[in-house]
């Protein structure tokens, strides 16, 4: 499939898992990220659960790079904000009248670890699953086909729209549009830049709609697909086990929070 996604092609066990199985693992990570109590638990889960799966799928490198790129700004922002503004007993250093506490820093890192675990689950799914297979799996489970169409089409065409935005900007500059002006004049630039982009895209839509109709897009009833998804009994068992475990975790964490 063309378009810009995170997907890394491969022939590993992880790649061949049914998309819904991976979606269930993502859900489990989300639940773990929300319910685990402390930083060591969260990091252990990330290392013991996600890293081996990424390694088996031979996507460890992109997995770590992507995780780092997203989590690094969070670690910095959260350390600063939670470190300075959470009261605690152990001051590490101070900046003017603001005291950076160890407790606050730890709280910030814990939130960052929660984000990392949830993000890791989503990354594992997206790095190892072709978007069209994921959409097919969801359509088979009752999601309307037009939703799958919208998501897949948007993924495929947005790089061309980014290109088009660039082309329009260059064309207008070639006609003498000055980009480096003061900030209020820059607002005026939006008209010659946005106008052609948005208008030409809406014009495109008509052609797309006709092409879709010519392929019986709005025909009701079941449609067959060129893609075939492999599933197995053990995967079905695994999915149910994970779902029950995840729901159990939610119940348990609520019980620990409110029943005591």
């Amino acid at each position: 499939m063309r378009g810009s996604t995170l997907f890394v092609p491969g022939q590993t066990v992880i790649h061949h898992l049914h998309p819904v199985t991976k979606l269930v693992i993502t859900f489990l990570c989300l639940v773990l990220a929300g319910t685990l109590p402390s930083l060591p638990w969260l990091l252990t889960c990330f290392v013991v659960l996600l890293l081996p799966l990424a390694a088996i799928g031979r996507i460890l490198r992109p997995f770590l790079l992507r995780s780092f790129a997203v989590i690094a700004p969070f670690v910095i922002s959260l350390s600063v904000i939670q470190g300075f503004f959470t009261p605690g007993q152990t001051p590490l250093f101070h900046l003017g009248s603001f005291i950076f506490t160890f407790e606050g820093w730890l709280a910030g890192l814990t939130v960052a670890a929660r984000i990392l675990l949830a993000l890791g689950g989503a990354l594992l799914l997206m790095l190892s699953t072709r978007p069209d297979r994921l959409m097919l799996a969801l359509t088979e489970r009752g999601m309307p086909g037009s939703l799958a169409y919208v998501v897949l089409t948007a993924i495929q065409i947005f790089p061309r729209f980014q290109e088009r935005a660039q082309v329009i900007q260059e064309a207008q500059q070639a006609r003498g549009l000055e980009i480096h002006v003061n900030i209020f004049r820059r607002l005026g630039l939006l008209v010659p830049l946005m106008g052609p982009l948005v208008l030409s895209s809406i014009m495109d839509t008509e052609e797309r709609a006709m092409a879709l109709e010519a392929r019986a897009f709005s025909r009701p009833g079941r449609k067959t697909s060129l893609l075939l998804l492999e599933d197995s009994v053990w995967q079905r068992i695994a999915r149910w086990t994970i779902m029950v475990a995840a729901l159990g975790l939610i119940v348990l964490s609520f019980w620990l929070k409110f029943a005591r």
Binding site: I81, A154, A165
Partner: protein, 205 residues
Amino acid sequence: MNDFRKEFTTFSVALIAVAIAINIGAGQIPRSVGLPLYLDSIGTVLVGVLVGPWAGALTGFLANTVWTVTGLFPQAIAWAGVAAIIGALAGAFGKAGWMKDWWRAGLAGLITGVVAAILSAPIAAYVFGGVTGNAGTDAIVAAWRAAGLDALFSNVAQGTMSDPLDKLVTYLIVWAVLMALPQRLKARFSGESVPAQKRSTPKKK
């Protein structure tokens, strides 16, 4: 439910896909000319106004899903609900006729911005520990915390500094696009003679 069905014709489904690409494509223009705006919901507002609140909401929701799937802004999905409400609001303003003159369109943008700021803040405050993972906005949040506000209100304050202006400009652009749209295309959305629609709703009562 009938309203819901009526909004999803083949044409509007194709438009929703294009609108998501517009969100992403247009979102890079302010960055490349150096404007401190996002302008990443032009497509969402456009669909809301042209098609209706349901389609607008769906566009917003799916746009944030696509932001996540493509890895451009993975945390976007946490704000998908807010994006959906922005789209639904655009539909409501469109139905109320606010997009007919520029000043009411601008006002609609300001209102949308305030609503978006208030709805986004709890997500940043409670899901992401008070930050969004964007250096610029997080610095502003830190400044508000230093000024004595708590996590939630620092994020509300940060949002109300940027969102109303952003949505004001978004709505004015959408208004200008609507003005420039050929009559032939506008007729497609007036709800009277839309050939594709008849086919997509065979179970019409």
